[in-house]
Amino acid sequence: METIIRTEKVDKVYYRGKPEEVRALHQIDLEIFKNRFVLLRGPSGSGKTTLLNVISTIDRPTEGFIFLFGEDVSKYSDVGLSRLRQKRIGLIFQNFNLLPRLPAWENVSFPLIPLGVMEKERRRRSVEMLTQLRLEKRIDHPPEQMSGGEQQRVAIARALINDPDIVMADEPTSNIDAKSIKTLLGILMDLKGKGKTIIVSSHDPVFLDYSETMFLLKDGKLIDIENPNDFKCP
């Protein structure tokens, strides 16, 4: 099994040295294999989102090392991290983070802008992606004209537009209804079937039946790992 993500003694401290200092992550060591469905689980405030942010490189650890695809990305420059996210990581945020005034297809396509993909091609690819996610009737609609589930699917389409190796979703079920949750699970499993690594941060038990590896966090510490066999290379 190929290791795709590895962390070594990762700490994340907010307001370091100040009276309001918060230790969000404490000495996190974990390993994630390619093409696994991974669940980061824990109560609210346990550090799930912080850990997801750190391993997705949208936040930097205070201490420790993060290895992505075998490389120590803790030493990467801002440019290097942007390139890595652009090519290999797709992010789905809890509140979707869609740009309010842009129609769905533009929200999906803007990661392609710095790649020099021209508008016609951007639209073609976005429409294709939105159609796959059954949003063909919402292509020109801005987010405020869509339901939570639809907005999430637009966010998924945006995460997938560059065909990333890893898809990470933060609390993906918190802002959508039951029907949309079912759709979401279908999409994530389909992506896993296509060889992607799926990492979900959630306290929702709905993912328990789907995840192959589960990291349990509490107070910023990794307290349990389910399917520990995954950690031992055969």
Partner: protein, 390 residues
């Protein structure tokens, strides 16, 4: 290599189109920013145009005028010069013609008019008779179009001025001139009449010397150093030109300096407007970075937005300045450059739009918008995306 260049070009084009689309999408912010920039730039552009217009007219007048102006030296200032110098100057080598002139000022009702006493044959070529005829007889005058319009003066009308109420003057002609600023409030009369009017018989305020080409500065030096008693003050054409240029550059400089203060005060206002919707922008930048945009790409897009806004604002400010000058005759701003004209000038204010102030206006707009947004964008883009989106 070629592929990379094409990719780079496509990326820059994409950023340009995205920036333009952002401007169009954020209409309120864009309109406010453009209006604010126009409000800051247009008075400056108008002022510089007026200054350049006046300078141009002045230089035209100087160019058309005499080669040497001679007055008496009264404690370092210009004083009346006796007419017996006329013959002495005429005898000098290189002199073509010499004639006396009286230039004085007097109130016409509440308007300060300039009275010029001159020989009819020496009337400047730039003066065009609009109505009536030139002065020929004693007591006859020609008045500038501005003064005539303001007080309803027509050929045949008689008037007197408070400085010498016993002398009755009769309007014989109304004239216009290339240099509106000098001609508008002018009253032209015969030299002898002016001498009588100002009670200065046998003297002129200055003597105008026309020379053969190349003799101007030599003769000026010769007259200056001839040891006259009382001593004379001599100004040649080049010197007068320099005075004018320096004077207007100084005024434009003072205006620009004063304006810079107002400009500096405008920066915080623009910062606020540039940062209009900054929270939303901060989040947007965070999302862009999270989805793979680089800081320099975000900065490029924002810089292009500012550039497009500046490219729109500067020509609009120039256009507004043209409208202000054409329809409102440079109201409020012109009085800084032309004394005693009040809020609305009674004559067409001269103006000239030169490329340099236009380029400077564009640069000012760029600086203002860049200062307003690039730093805050960089601060947002340089932090981890998770922090920007928080």
């Amino acid at each position: 290599m070629k592929g990379n260049q094409t990719g780079d070009m496509s990326r820059h084009l994409n950023l340009l189109f995205t920036a333009t689309a952002n401007i169009l999408r954020n209409k309120v912010r864009t309109i406010l920013l453009i209006l604010c920039l126009m409000a800051v730039l247009f008075p400056w552009i108008t002022a510089i145009s007026i200054s350049e217009g006046i300078k141009f007219q002045s230089l035209l007048s100087v160019e058309e005028g005499a080669d040497i102006y001679v007055t008496s030296d009264y404690f370092g200032s210009n004083g009346p010069i006796p007419l017996d110098y006329l013959d002495r100057f005429r005898k000098m080598e290189g002199v073509v013609s010499v004639f006396p002139r009286i230039v004085g000022r007097a109130y016409f009702v509440n308007r300060l008019a300039t009275i010029v006493g001159i020989l009819p044959e020496n009337l400047p070529k730039s003066i065009h008779l609009a109505r009536g005829r030139t002065f020929l007889e004693k007591g006859e005058v020609m008045v500038g179009k501005g003064l005539a319009q303001e007080f309803g003066l027509q050929p045949g009308v008689r008037f007197s001025l408070s400085i010498n109420p016993s002398k009755l003057l009769k309007v014989m002609g109304i004239f216009d001139a290339d240099a509106t600023i000098w001609s508008s409030n002018l009253i032209l009369m015969a030299f002898d009449d002016a001498g009588e009017f100002f009670k200065m018989k046998g003297k002129a305020t200055d003597i105008l010397v026309y020379t053969r080409p190349g003799y101007g500065s030599v003769l000026a030096k010769e007259i200056q150093e001839a040891g006259w008693d009382p001593p004379l003050r001599v100004q040649d054409k080049a010197l007068v030109k320099r005075y004018f240029q320096r004077g207007f550059n100084y005024k434009a400089g003072v205006f620009t300096a004063l304006y810079t203060v107002a400009f500096a005060l405008a920066i915080p206002a623009l910062l606020v407007i540039s940062g209009f919707g900054q929270t939303e922008r901060k989040k947007e930048i965070g999302v862009l970075k999270a989805t793979g945009w680089q800081t320099q790409e975000v900065m490029e897009m924002v810089a292009i937005e500012n550039l497009v806004i500046s490219l729109t604002s500067a020509p609009l400010a120039i256009l507004m300045s043209m409208v202000w000058l054409k329809w409102l005759n440079g109201a409020w701003i012109a009085q800084f450059f032309i004394a005693e004209i009040g809020l609305m000038a009674p004559f067409p204010i001269p103006s000239r739009f030169l490329p340099l102030p236009s380029i400077l206006a564009f640069l000012f707009a760029v600086i203002l918008t860049m200062v307003g947004s690039l730093y805050s964008t960089w601060r947002t883009a340089a932090v981890p995306p998770a922090e920007a989106m928080r």
